[in-house]
Amino acid sequence: MIARFFLALGLAAMMVVASFGTYVYLSGRQSKLTAAPQKPTAATPRAQAFKLPGTIYLAQSGALYSLSVGRFHQLTGEEGWTQPSVFPDGGYMLAVKQNYLYSDVYVLERFGAVHRKLTDNNAYGRLADISDRHWSFYPRLNPDGTQLFMSYDAPKFGYDVNLSVWAMPLGGSISQGRLWTISNDYTGGDVQALPVPGGGIIYTKYSYGPDGNLTGQLWFTNRPGSVGRALTDTDQDCSEPSLSPDGHLLAMICTYQKQVSHLVFASWINTNIGRLHELITDQVVAQPTWAPDGSGIAYLAPAVAAGPFQLWFLPKDAYDAPPPSPTPVPTPTPGGPYSGTLPTPTPAPPVAPPVIKPVQLTTNNGFDATSPIAWAL
């Protein structure tokens, strides 16, 4: 009788522990989907990152980070900072600070301290309307560092709010600014201006294609207010241009109007674009950026399907293959001339060029894929 009592007691205790334990175990499991991205400073990148030259600037969760000598440093608080761009002389950088109503362009020290505010896009006064405020995005300086190019939502007419490319003196104000591009109505406008050596800008213009779909196209213009000319076709849907340090190669992304984003490059000679070559087609690529020493291209892409964006690096060998090996010739036979038929040289087996894969530099971050990467020596 006593044995049965203890058995019942033991079983009851075990049941309580097991059911409670199961509940606690299930509650304690962490969802992999909703895990917040790690701060870049929480983990160092993989060893390969140490080979990257210079300093890379990126944005995540409204903060700017730098990656230098294999270590991340947080430069600003999580205060809406995005879209860093380094001055041509490397002394300072531009960045956008955005809130839910407007955004402004700032000059920052390379360690993140605010040096100067360049725009004032808020609206003041009791009678200010919500649409009196403005957005500034994608700031870049021209090669001599005197003109600030940016996308700015003016002029706008009621519901028709489009970004256009503007340029203003670095030390001036938007009232001294000049409208460089005429954006198409109701498209979102012109973005990602990239000043090129020799003058002019490459930028992304949005327009309605023949099928009525909105699509991106790279354009070039060399003076304010001119129409310029298209560099890519509407059905290629290309955007996010980046020019190589020598100025002869242009990287971009193209989506072909699908939910994909391929890394594409083309030659860029005398403001003429060459044939497009696809480099990466199996990832959702964003913000390709050339290394300042020409050693490769950094970009953002998810590491897992539908995941947050990580930093990747594609070494130069992937797109700049070594020249093919020379055609084999028959080896001379020692012992003097031979009058018979010469043996047909055995062709060397074709050597497939080594497949250079991109290197994943981070694993648990969530970089802002709408923010261009800045990279300086």
Binding site: L7, M14, A18, S31, I130, Y159, V284, A305, F309, T370
Partner: protein, 338 residues
């Protein structure tokens, strides 16, 4: 004396515990406890699933549909056993509206074809001027407001000459919470979506307030709030509701892509996100059957996305509505929906 021996032994034997029986008892008790613990954990999700699924819809008898002949189409779709049609309904369910008397900002007919692992999605413009199932006319987004899901289904069945097997309704806030509960989605946004008059009615105490929106172009990871801004904004789009419908289909497919990664550890969060924000006629049994099926729709080329554009309709209808070109619409619908 001798006769008492077996009885005593039997009693002694009964008092001793049988090892096998004890072990079996312990295993059964342990299993029951684990199931009970699991049941307690999944109870909120199970409750929501029970409440949200298997909604009984009374589809009112529609008024006879007008005898409109469809334009000649290549060939009408053939009914295949197992294929079914779902009407997806998305609503503004903010404080401007009474509960269940909301407009449907989004109405998408989806034909699911398990036989060929393909899907067809057809977005119906919310401003399409139609005959309601109960008589009278108006924009199709009002059908749900007048007759809830049954009214919307009856109206679409009547006007588009299709049979709808199931419906799913989701509120705007539910969409935001769902996307957050699955950790955000990856979308290649088609263009900068700029809107100075975006309704600030979900998280504001002033439901008629406006906000500014700037969703930048290109590949990006969107949280629920920004995904909602992307699919809802229409002022900056020349195609207004048509452009918005295209974006809605992009986001739906992105949710489907991410949903493939949902595990049991996400179930409660997803259930909590959708509490009161989703309703469907699909029974819980069928949902369980469909979950593994969803992961087989992997080929992007097997997903046909259709957004109705002119000449399927033209503007200038009553109250800013769109006047349908029924012969052309019915010809299109007949190709994909039985």
């Amino acid at each position: 004396m001798l006769g008492k021996q077996p009885g005593r032994r039997a009693r002694a034997s009964r008092r001793r515990l049988n090892l096998t029986r004890t072990a079996v008892l312990a295993v059964v008790a342990l299993s029951l406890s684990v199931v009970a613990g699991g049941f307690a954990y999944f109870l909120p999700a199970a409750t929501l699933a029970w409440q949200a699924t298997g909604q009984v819809v009374s589809i009112p008898s529609p008024t006879p549909s007008p005898s409109i002949e469809a334009s000649p189409s290549p060939s009408p779709v053939i009914k295949v056993p197992g294929d079914f049609t779902v009407l997806l309904l998305g609503s503004d369910d903010d404080s401007k509206f009474e509960a269940d008397h909301v407009l449907t900002q989004s109405m998408i007919l989806v034909r699911v074809r398990p036989s060929s692992h393909s899907v067809v999605m057809l977005s119906i413009p919310r401003d399409l001027y139609v005959q309601f199932w109960r008589g009278g006319s108006g924009k199709i987004d009002g059908a749900y407001s007048y007759g809830q899901a049954g009214g919307a289904i009856a109206t679409v069945e009547r006007d588009f000459n299709v049979h709808i097997d199931e419906y799913i309704w989701i509120g705007l806030l539910g969409l935001v919470k769902l996307i957050n509960a699955i950790g955000g989605i990856d979308v290649v946004t088609s263009n900068p979506v700029m809107d100075d008059f975006y309704p600030n009615d979900i998280f504001s105490q002033y439901p008629y307030d406006y906000s500014r929106v700037a969703v930048l172009p290109g590949p990006q990871h969107l949280d629920g709030l920004h995904a909602m801004q992307y699919v809802r904004s229409r002022h900056g789009d020349l195609q207004s509701d048509i452009g918005r419908s295209k974006r809605q289909q992009q986001v739906l497919l992105a949710i489907r892509q991410k949903a493939k990664q949902v595990t049991s550890s996400d179930v409660n969060a997803v259930a909590a996100a959708l509490g009161g924000e989703i309703k469907t006629s699909i029974s819980i049994d069928r949902v369980i059957d469909l979950i593994p099926l969803a992961s087989t729709f992997d080929n992007p080329d097997a997903i046909t996305q259709i957004v109705m554009v002119p000449p399927l309709f033209h503007g200038g209808g009553p109250g800013g509505s769109l006047t349908p070109n029924w012969p052309a619409i019915l010809a299109l619908v007949r190709q994909y929906f039985p």
